[in-house]
């Protein structure tokens, strides 16, 4: 800026200087020349008149410093000269002004000196005596004049440069100051050059645009962060070199990462061959998934490539905790195995007995025993299937009709049904407490009390007692069934509600039962949003309490 301004100032100064110099010299020089010539002429005529009067002797006492006078005879011989010795001077007959004077009475000419630094003007006049009087004066030529002016010109140029420097500096500062002080954060508040206002408005607009775009971006990335951090699945994003771009909290806990993982190689956190192969596959555009155990939990990993415009930009690793699912899977497999086993055992027994009867291998007196066996096993099968049907109904959670159920009524009904089997084992059944009603499904409540009492009788001792007590506990209706039976060891207590779980591992048929009773109780109670508690001591008895 300063340089540009300086350059323009200095060039203006120089152009002005030069042009004025040229104009001044041309005009003034011409003017001076003319004056000089006319002055010469006047002087010459004056002196010529005097010489005509007085004669050449006039010059004897002549003293002139300005003009030079020469008297030349008609043959060109110099008779007198104010500055030089006339006798030593050459013949002047060829000089233009002399020739002219002799011919026309007057002559004039101008000649440059041999060095070109001086110009001499000559005027000559023919005297009365035939001699020629010449007057001459020398003055500097244009070039010499300018040359002599050079120091002054230089001085002026130097002064101009200095002034230009200072001025340009100041001007640049003055011009740029408002520009430098522009507040670009608030472009519209500026009060500077009018010419800048379109630019400032544009900047203001772009400011606003950038701000809104940044806000959108922030909001989006915040949203993304929120979503992935509250995800229960682990999510890891990798760039094309396998470096971690983002890892959510769930993933950090799966890979046991304590500090920030961003920017590190994913291999640092998981270097198992399965994973590195899957990640490598993702980089070549393949999707893969595998299951593996980590920190005692089961996980399923899904690895997908991130593809954009046909180029793989990275990979996404999604980790699902499938521990519960795997557990449920195992449970189901176990259940199926148990069901088939439970169904097969009585059937095998039936087939065996039937085959023996068919082949006539049974003595006639034993026939009724074998047939009885078949009937017993078939009954067992039916009761087992009934239990399974009931359980699956409870599992399906379809909504049967609910009504007000009197627990006392239901208990009496159960006791009536079970009296026979209780009498067989010599167990007495009692109902205590007062009538209570709850709102629920009568059939399910019957199942609860029936199964609990059935177990209480089945696993009782000879001459034992079973008591059903109905009452209120902390304002909630409760039924408890206690027996004086064999009890349940603590290690089994947490598991007896599982399907087909038997304290007696041999699945013995001695006591009967399907192993599904307590499971049905659990589901039926859960259907009524109740709670089952179990208290038992080995050899002393068991109390099961259901609170609705």
């Amino acid at each position: 800026m300063t340089k540009k301004i300086f350059r323009s100032i200095i060039s203006v100064a120089l152009i002005v200087l030069l042009s004025s110099l040229v104009i001044a010299t041309t005009f003034l020089y011409d003017y001076f020349n003319q004056t000089q010539v006319s002055q010469l002429k006047a002087e010459l005529s004056l002196v010529a008149d005097t010489v005509n009067d007085v004669g050449i002797e006039y010059f004897d006492n002549f003293d002139s410093t300005v003009f030079r006078f020469t008297v030349v005879a008609a043959d060109g011989k110099v008779l007198y000269d104010t500055e030089a010795d006339a006798s030593e001077m050459e013949n002047h007959v060829d000089r233009e002004e002399i020739k002219e004077a002799i011919e026309h009475g007057k002559g004039s000419s101008a000649r440059n000196s041999s060095t070109l630094t001086e110009k001499t003007f000559y005027e000559a006049v023919l005297l009365d005596d035939g001699n020629v009087l010449r007057i001459s004066v020398s003055q500097l030529t244009v070039g010499a004049l300018i040359l002599s002016m050079l120091p002054a010109i230089c001085a002026i140029v130097i002064v101009a440069v200095i002034v230009a420097l200072v001025l340009s500096h100041r001007m640049a500062k003055k011009v740029t100051e408002p520009l430098l002080n522009l507040d670009l954060e608030h472009p519209e508040d500026n009060n500077s050059y009018e010419e800048l206002s379109p630019i400032l408005t544009k900047i203001h607009k772009q400011h606003k645009q950038i701000k809104s775009q940044m806000e959108t971006l922030h909001r989006k990335s915040d949203e993304f962060e929120q979503i992935i951090s509250s995800m229960s699945e682990g999510l890891v994003l990798l760039d094309e070199h396998g470096m971690v771009l983002s890892m959510n909290t769930a993933a950090a806990s799966i890979f046991s990462v304590k500090e920030s993982a961003v920017g590190k190689d994913f291999l640092v956190f998981d270097r198992t061959t399965d994973m590195s192969k899957a990640v490598e596959g993702a980089f070549s555009g393949k999707h893969s998934e595998f299951k593996t155990q980590r920190n005692g939990n089961e996980y399923q990993f899904n690895i997908n490539p991130i593809v954009s415009d046909g180029k793989t930009l990275g990979a996404v690793i999604l980790a699902f905790d499938i521990t519960d699912k795997a557990f449920a899977e195992r449970n189901r497999q176990e259940f199926t195995a148990n069901v088939t086993h439970e169904l097969k055992t009585p059937l095998q027994s039936i087939i065996g007995s039937a085959e023996l009867l068919e082949n006539g291998l049974v003595k006639p007196e034993d026939t009724s025993r074998f047939v009885g066996n078949i009937r017993k096993e078939a009954t067992r099968l039916v009761s087992l299937i009934n239990d399974i049907i009931r359980l699956s109904q409870l599992d399906e959670n379809h909504e049967p009709a609910t009504e007000t159920v009197d627990l006392m009524d239901v208990s009496k009904e159960v006791v009536e049904v079970l009296t026979v089997s209780a009498a067989k084992r010599n167990v007495t059944l009692n109902i205590e407490g007062e009538p209570q009603t709850i709102y629920g499904v009568r059939r399910y409540i019957y199942e609860i009390i029936y199964n609990l009492c059935d177990n209480a009788i089945r696993y009782n001792v000879d001459g034992g007692k079973v008591a059903i007590s109905i009452g209120k506990e902390n304002g909630r209706t409760a039924v408890s069934v206690s027996d004086t039976g064999i009890g349940i060891a603590p290690e089994h207590q947490s598991r007896i509600f599982e399907r087909f779980y038997r304290v007696d591992k041999s699945h013995s048929k001695e006591t009967g039962g399907t192993g599904l009773g307590l499971s049905i109780v659990k589901h039926a109670v859960a259907y009524h949003s109740g709670k089952v508690t179990l208290e038992s001591e080995l050899g002393k008895g068991t109390t099961v309490k259901v609170v609705f």
Partner: protein
């Protein structure tokens, strides 16, 4: 030029971690096969061992290329030379695990009381290998030093196994070949532990610039 160098160093690091992971998996596989008396693991161990050998050659050529073409100095040089030493140890671990796998079929699936002593030994060795690789991956000095200290556990377990086997032979409760096989396995485990210590020491060298031996 430098960018390419950094890229190659990253690549080296990646390959090292992969090789370490393979060693880990191999030794875990062999330990499981031994404790379960399962002779099927031997074949799998062989292919894995072969892979480890190949990785060693691959990493070796990467290291040599880096040394020749980039002429690294200071830390980079340390990392590369330590890598060269480490892969030798990893390869030895792989070989010895393979050797154990080769012996397992001759044990005829016996998993008697004498194997009880092997369980802590195999577990301690696996942990040492895992920890030494972990120390490399995370450039963790404390873990590296921990590996060096852990070696005593494996050494103690080895002498216990040795005593048991000597007793077995003197009481003549087992045939000599079986006892010698077991002794070899124990020795291999002990050697694997030593190699893990070596790896840990090289990790320390690549981080600090001083090797334990100096």
């Amino acid at each position: 030029m430098r960018n390419r160098f950094d890229e190659q160093l990253l690549m080296l690091n990646k390959k090292m971690i992969e090789m370490g992971a393979q060693c880990e998996e191999l030794i875990a596989l062999v330990a499981k096969a031994l404790l379960n008396g399962d002779s099927k693991g031997a074949n799998e161990a062989k292919t894995k061992g072969h892979e480890i050998d190949q990785m060693e050659r691959e990493i070796e050529s990467i290291c040599l290329k880096l040394l020749l073409q980039q002429q690294p100095v200071a830390r980079d040089l340390r990392v590369i030379s330590a890598a060269l030493k480490m892969i030798t140890d990893m390869e030895r671990i792989g070989d010895q695990a393979e050797d154990i796998a080769e012996i397992i079929p001759f044990l005829d699936g016996r998993t008697g009381a004498e194997l009880a002593d092997f369980k802590p030994m195999a577990e301690a060795t696996c942990k040492m290998v895992t920890d030494s690789i972990d120390a490399y991956v995370k450039q963790d000095l404390t873990l590296a030093r921990h590996v060096c200290e852990h070696d005593d556990v494996v050494d103690d377990a080895f002498s216990r196994v040795k005593d048991t086997l000597i007793k077995m032979i003197s009481e003549n409760t087992a045939d000599g070949e079986y006892a010698v096989d077991l002794l070899m396995i124990a020795k291999y485990f002990e050697r694997i532990g030593d190699h893990a210590v070596n790896i840990a020491e090289w990790v320390e060298f690549s981080v600090t610039g001083t090797h334990k031996g100096e």
